[in-house]
Amino acid sequence: MKKVTFLILGFILGLSILSFAQDPGGAETLAANPQAPIDYVWVLICGFLVFFMQAGFAMVEAGFCRAKNATNLMAKNTIDFVVASLVFMAVGFALMMGNDYYGLIGTTGWFLHGDNYDVGRYLMFFWQLVFAGTAATIVSGAVAERLKFKAYFLYSLVVSAIIYPIYGHWVWGGGWLSKLPFGLGHVDFAGSGVVHTIGGFVGLAGALVLGPRFSKFGKDGKPRAIPGHSITLAALGTFILWFGWFGFNPGSTFSGHQLRIAVIAVNTNLAAAAGAAVAILLVFLKTKKWDVGMMLNGCLAGLVAVTAPCAWIEAWAAVVIGGVAGLLVVLGVYFWEARGVDDPVGAVSVHGLNGVWGLISVGLFADGTYGLGTTAGPLVKGLFYGGGYGQLISQAIGAAVCVFWAFGLGFIAFKLMDRYFGIRVAPEEELKGLDIPEHGTPAYPNFYTTNQN
């Protein structure tokens, strides 16, 4: 009998958000589903938190880079969301969430026009937009301190108009990846892949096309540290991101009726903690110093990794997944540097590597207590819980596609721009810092700054 009750609830709920196109006032939607308000309130507030992550990224990246590029980082971290907002409204949302065309792209809802002038559609748009903005802003860290603002401006267009929404459609818009015949198809609860792997690997492409910053590698080719200008800002940014992630993951139920949100919040937090703990301890073993920067990276790595599985695992698994993420981010940072890749804030390791790990982990740790936004339907089960290899395969395929798609298109985009107008600032501009040549505005004119390179 209980089953029935909540099936009905789930059903009404389902309706409430999807049906009733063309209800701009919201009254009909409410009448049809008096339960809708709690869902709207939950989704919106979580969306606000996700938006706030923009501030977190800005602070982390600024903190991890030098004072002479702080203005430039603020400019980029703002413009990407500005561009994403406008472009995603114009075309991105339609491509991602419009009516499916052969599992490849969405095709309706351009400019939020016509039928889309509806409270339910606007709600979904808002949610998808803040996610698109997050994917876009991740890249700024990997290409920091040398990419022209103009190039970043254009890149923002490409990522929020094409790269993000199309892949997003494949996973969340009813596209082909979500229909893979293994397990329940490729699943990515809150976007380890859709958001973070995409951002991380587009970032890798950018870093490769740009090449390392001047003085990042010594004449001997050995990587050198280029300390950021404010650990305080980096830590503040990490706290803001951690805070925002509580909107990012639990909010991805897209419904306040899924009490599973409590489990998701706990898992999100535990993974962050485990990632931070492992990262700082690892570096301590190596250098005998308590490395704050790496701890912050580890914390974010844990959050990225748990983003895909957070709804389908229990607490202990979150700790394990986060711990592994902490390990991966440390190895990742050394790995890329050893290969001559210069990623000033560690975005590729934090978001790229751990995004992939997050997707895979679903196929391993999903415990079969929860399904696709419901406990009714089929449940997600991973290898360790007797779910066999099915889900794992779907996850692997999705992850591989994600990496290729993001890196491929990212590489093409940056290469093309480089061909046309050169995406890297002039050497002397890089030495002086981008703030004055690009923006005319030093970030800290009242302060005496030193060690400019």
């Binding site: 990587p223 540290a225 300390p227 950021g228 190596k286 920067g293 940072v333 560690g346 030193t450």
Partner: protein, 113 residues
């Protein structure tokens, strides 16, 4: 008139001031925060898991212009206060100043100091 130019450890600055004040004969001074490089090894710092060497150490430079006969007393006092015996204590340099003027009054020469 001579200029006494002393490079000392940052953490010695406060004591130094006290000592010189007691000494009475210190008319004024200019303190500059500099970065020093000398025998003292630079320190190793690290950032996001990677270590790097810093060759410049923060030091404080004190400049005092005094009448010739006061030089020794002050140099001794400074040396005594700044000494720890460890590498990095710093140095004192003496050079000559041809003239001085107190802007407020326009006085020149020794009385201007």
């Amino acid at each position: 008139m001579k200029k006494i130019e002393a490079v000392i450890r940052v953490e010695k600055l406060e004591d130094m001031l006290g000592v010189l004040e007691e000494l009475g004969c210190c008319p004024g001074m200019m303190i500059t925060h500099i970065e020093g490089h000398g025998r003292q090894k630079g320190i190793v710092e690290q950032f996001r898991g990677r270590e790097y060497k810093v060759n410049f150490l923060p030091k404080v430079k004190i400049e005092i212009i005094v009448k010739d006969f006061e030089v020794d007393k002050i140099v001794k006092a400074i040396a005594k206060t700044a000494r720890t015996g460890e590498i990095g204590d710093g140095k004192i340099f003496i050079s000559s100043i041809e003239n001085a003027m107190r802007i407020r009054t326009g006085e020149q020469g020794d009385i201007a100091i």
